[in-house]
């Protein structure tokens, strides 16, 4: 754990590295990205061990959600770096000839990345990839709630990366507060709404731009399906998107399901059968589902279940093992909408099913709640798909699957409203740590002398024509054939 008094020399060293210009060099950025790639390969076993220790994650899940996606992202950054770093030409109107204009991507400077405990490697390193590719100096503060992962990051980053330009600072709220008092060129925060507010308020003091990746209650709308093959595939995806995603402790995990009341019994049957297939008859023995991160969150979830009005709605699972911080995959049918299970983000393996009279009612249901990070819709109905896109708002929408949008790098990943703002993944990661500097190059050879004082009607008439790109009108005025009206 970092001593708070010692932070200033570290930060000064990072600023100096940035000022020296070395992080701007393509060669430096490439070497850092390659370093990350090597870290992921060589430390794979230790990463799996840390995640197993912190969260009880199976290494296949750890690979799928963290190591694998990170490897993919680093490779993309390496192969695209030259393209991302190049200036983009901007088109200018003829009247501006012979000027040229471009947008030059430059790094912001020294950036702070604060990550969360549920995907401690993924949510730490995915933004770091963007920050480094964009040429910044970086401080990473991993979550103290995942201590094995935080400690592994603190140990390995200085070994594989340039320790004068990329630092890991471990610690909890006190260290976080101290870091937030410093002046950063950007803060990238993944976490909950409460801390998100604190981060943005602190950033306001220094006019630091922020990206906030928060959460929300991500609904899954389940339309009825006919073919049995479709049903099985879709059910797998639903369960994978809940219990298979860090036991539901994911910002984009399915929070609850909306289904038409007639179809609910069928859905429930399908879910229960597949849950048994995935996690076994006795889920406590499964190695394929993560544990709850700590006692505090375990008790939070247990309390949700202990509410009598909620407990009576449990239709599958519900068993808890406090010693092992394990909660069984649990399904509930229509818990009261005013109970905390339906007002707060669940972030755990409890899956409420809410029934509606018509599946289209899901639109109003979703719209009456804060905007979520993701909306999932399982349907083949093209009209419903179009309506969801145009009538609801969320960070993203995924049809007929869940979570997998995290692995796509051509679409931005980020929230809106209470689920946050800003985005990353793929080139969007690079952009989020970049200032797009506009550059206009003019020639000293030509001039529109009518731009300058002293003013008169003739000049005004010329200006009006020029600024509306009325070239013909411009000529007329010049020749004295048209006057300022």
């Amino acid at each position: 754990m970092a001593e708070i008094e010692n932070l200033e020399p570290d930060l000064e060293e990072l600023r100096e590295s940035y000022r020296s210009g070395k992080t701007k060099e393509a060669s430096w950025r490439k070497s850092q990205l390659k370093g990350l790639l090597t870290l992921l390969k060589e430390q794979e076993k230790d990463i799996f061990k840390a995640l197993e220790q912190d969260l009880g994650k199976h290494y296949a899940e750890s690979y799928r959600d963290e190591v694998g996606t990170l490897t993919k992202s680093v490779n993309l950054a390496l192969s695209s770096l030259k393209d991302w770093m190049s200036s983009r030409k901007a088109k200018l109107p003829i009247a501006a000839f012979p000027s040229t204009a471009e947008v030059f991507p430059e790094p912001l400077g020294l950036v702070l990345i604060i990550s969360s405990w549920n995907f401690p490697f993924g949510l730490s390193l995915e933004p770091v990839i963007g920050a480094i590719a964009a040429g910044n100096s970086v401080v990473l503060k991993p979550s103290e709630l995942a201590p094995a992962s935080s400690s592994l990051l603190a140990k390995t980053i200085p070994t594989y990366l340039d320790k004068k330009a990329v630092k890991v600072i471990e610690g909890g709220a006190a260290v976080g507060e101290h870091l937030l008092r410093c002046k950063w060129d950007k803060i990238f925060f993944t976490g909950n709404v409460r801390v998100g507010r604190i981060v943005m308020t602190a950033a306001a003091n220094h006019l630091t731009p922020v990206t906030l990746e928060l959460g929300g209650k991500c609904p899954a709308i389940f339309d009825s399906f006919s073919s049995s093959w479709d049903k099985e595939m879709v059910i797998k995806r639903v369960l994978g998107g809940k219990f298979g995603a860090c036991a539901g402790q994911a910002c984009i995990a399915i929070d609850y399901i909306l289904v038409q009341e007639g179809f609910a019994p069928t859905l429930l049957e399908l879910l229960r059968n597949m849950t048994k297939k995935m996690f076994g008859e006795n889920p406590r023995e499964t190695k394929s589902m993560a544990r709850i991160i700590n006692k505090q969150h375990f008790l939070r979830l247990k309390n949700i279940l202990d509410d009598p009005s909620v407990q009576s709605c449990i239709v599958h699972g519900g068993g808890v093992d406090e010693d092992n911080l394990f909660i069984e995959p649990t399904i509930l049918m229509n818990p009261p909408l005013k109970a905390s299970i339906m007002t707060d983000e669940i972030f755990g393996p409890l899956l409420p099913i809410i029934t509606l009279k018509k599946i289209e009612d899901s639109i109003e249901f979703i719209n009456s709640r804060p905007k979520a990070l993701a909306i999932y819709v399982f349907t083949k109905n093209e009209t419903l798909k179009r309506r969801i896109i145009s009538e609801t708002s969320s960070g993203s929408v995924t049809f007929n699957d869940a979570i997998i949008q995290y692995a796509a790098d051509t679409i931005p990943f980020g929230g809106v409203g209470e689920s946050g703002f800003g985005r990353y993944h793929g080139k969007f990661s690079f952009d989020t740590f970049t200032h797009e500097k506009a550059i206009l190059r003019r020639s000293l050879l030509t001039e529109f002398w009518f731009r300058f004082p002293p003013w008169n009607d003739f000049k005004l008439a010329l200006t009006k024509s020029a600024y509306s790109f009325d070239y013909f009108g411009f000529l007329l005025v010049l020749m004295g054939l048209k006057k300022n009206s």
Binding site: Y59, A60, E61, Y63, R64, G68, A90, A96, A101, F104, G109, G196, R197, T201, A204, L207, P209, L212, D230, K236, L239, G240, M278, F279, T286, N367, I389, E391, S393, S394, T398, F399, N400, I404, A408, D409, T410, I411, P412, F413, V416, G417, K437, A438, I439, L440, R441, R442, L444, L445, R451, F452, P453, P454, W455, T463, K464, Y467, S468, F469
Partner: protein, 488 residues
């Protein structure tokens, strides 16, 4: 809605809450989403400027005594061209953007769909009172949002004209103007907006962002800074001088966020530069600039006193080499040039926002680049030179919102360039398509098919599944096939 000045209701927290409730209702009705609605509003906005050009110029003159041509170029024509561009491009901007997908999510297709953020607040500034309220509004409306405009209270005639014309020409169930000062703005800032777009000073920018933080509202802050002009000796001096002088004194007499704040040039070249400047100033404003009708006034006595203080500073008063005349009663201030003021003087440590132009001399121009960035990143930085190497070094090392080589301020008019600050000069950008994007949420939409699925994704997990996952995530088609073959 016309208000009698005696019985004018106070816009307080309750009024703000009820305003927000009304706008959320109209936004939820979907009214602002249609292409037709957006086009109608933009066309009407254009009409405001076309049909009321004289009223607008009169109001701006009453508030700022700005010469008509300046108001025309800087405010009216830019709004017209923004509207024209938005109307011409809206269809394209509103279309979803199809994007490629990789084998990791195969089979799938994806697109990015733009949607409005919802109910947005735009706070304008006083130096270009019409432009800085309406130009962002064009983006907000084009993007399909409900909008509240809060024009600057330091320009009462323009603010009141904006309220009247917007109320008359635009859909007042979705677009509203709230006039007022600190109390009214504070009441507005307490509400939960889907975006706040603010133009003004860094001090107030911090207040706006802190208020936004309570509701996790994203913000765009267009602030200012000390925009330097670096002048080399190998240039076409007459042209350069006109552009520098134009950017400074023909832009609201220096009261512009992108006006050149100070000049850096070599010791050798300074005399020639100063001579040329003095000449041009006399040609533009005559021997007695306070008599000229082509020079805008200082906005109010507070700012006048602020500028006077910068000049009366002991460290500086001996460095005035041109100008310095002022008329407190009429808020007139002549173009004033200062030479080699000390770096710790007041005038070199805050944004001048007025007609004072310090010239700093150095031995080598490259040495000045670090000096520039050490003062906080400005909104713009300018370089006059024909030296290619110097241009490249400038572009690489000077960080600012935007750079212009061999001119000043003009990048503001180029709609294909994003206009915005970095660091102390702000965050976010607008103009052209960037305005539309500033008020939009670009929503990712992923369509997944049913054709094939890797059971490797799901529990119960195993080593074999791990192999397939590795192949899938690395995008290796061969790897995927091999793993699948070995699988079945």
């Amino acid at each position: 809605m016309a208000e009698d000045s005696e019985t004018k209701k106070v816009f307080d927290a309750e009024a703000a809450a009820s305003l927000m409730k009304e706008l959320r209702g109209t936004y939820a009705s979907g009214k602002t989403r249609s292409y037709e609605w957006r086009v109608a509003q933009l066309k009407n906005l254009m009409k405001i400027v076309d049909d009321h050009e004289k009223d607008i110029l009169d109001a701006i003159r009453a508030d700022l005594s700005k010469p008509e041509q300046e108001s025309y170029i800087a405010e009216i024509s830019i709004i017209k061209s923004s509207c024209t561009r938005a109307l011409g491009e809206l269809n394209r901007w509103m279309k979803p953007e199809k994007v490629k997908t990789s084998i990791t999510t195969f089979p799938s297709s994806a697109e990015i769909v733009s949607e409005p953020l919802g109910v947005v607040l735009i706070i304008g500034a006083w130096n270009f009172p019409l432009l800085l309220a309406l130009d962002p509004a064009i983006g907000a409306i084009a993007a399909g949002n409900a909008v509240v405009l809060k024009p600057s209270e330091l320009c009462p005639a323009t603010s009141s004209l904006i309220a009247k014309l917007v109320g008359k020409y635009l859909d007042s169930s979705c677009i509203k103007v709230v006039e007022g000062a600190v109390a009214e703005t504070s009441a507005l800032l307490e509400q939960k907006w889907d975006k706040i777009f603010f133009t003004g000073s860094g001090r107030v920018g911090r207040i706006v962002m802190a208020a936004a933080a309570k509701h996790l509202t994203p913000v765009a802050l267009e602030l200012g800074g000390k925009c330097p002009v670096v002048v080399d000796s190998d240039i076409n001096l007459p042209v350069a001088i006109r552009r520098i002088a134009g950017g400074k004194w023909a832009s609201n007499n220096g009261q512009a966020c992108i006006a050149p704040d100070y000049i850096i040039t070599t010791k050798d070249f300074a005399p020639k530069l100063i001579d040329a400047l003095k000449h041009e100033l006399e040609a533009w404003y005559g021997k007695d600039p306070l008599e000229s009708k082509d020079l805008a006034h200082i906005v109010n006595s507070n700012h006048f006193a602020r500028l006077a203080k910068l000049l009366d500073d002991d460290k500086v008063s001996g460095k005035i080499i041109h100008g310095g005349q002022r008329d407190k009663a009429n808020l007139k201030f002549a173009p004033t040039i200062l030479l080699d003021v000390p770096e710790d003087s007041l005038v070199m440590n805050e944004e001048i926002f007025g007609p004072l132009l310090p010239i700093l001399t150095v031995d080598k121009l490259e040495d000045s680049f670090d000096m520039i960035t050490s003062r906080g990143k400005p909104l713009a930085a300018y370089l006059f030179t024909n030296n290619k190497k110097l241009k490249e070094k400038f572009v690489k090392t000077v960080s600012a919102g935007g750079l212009v080589i061999n001119d000043t301020v003009l990048h503001f008019a180029e709609k294909t360039l994003p206009f915005g600050g970095v660091g102390e000069s702000g965050m976010g950008s607008y103009h052209g398509k960037f305005s539309y994007e500033a008020f939009s949420h670009r929503k990712s939409v992923l369509y997944r098919g049913f054709a094939g699925d890797a059971s490797a994704r799901y529990p119960p997990y195993s080593d074999r599944k791990l192999k397939l996952l590795k192949a899938l995530l690395s995008g290796s088609v061969v790897g995927v096939i091999l793993a699948l073959i070995g699988w079945s």
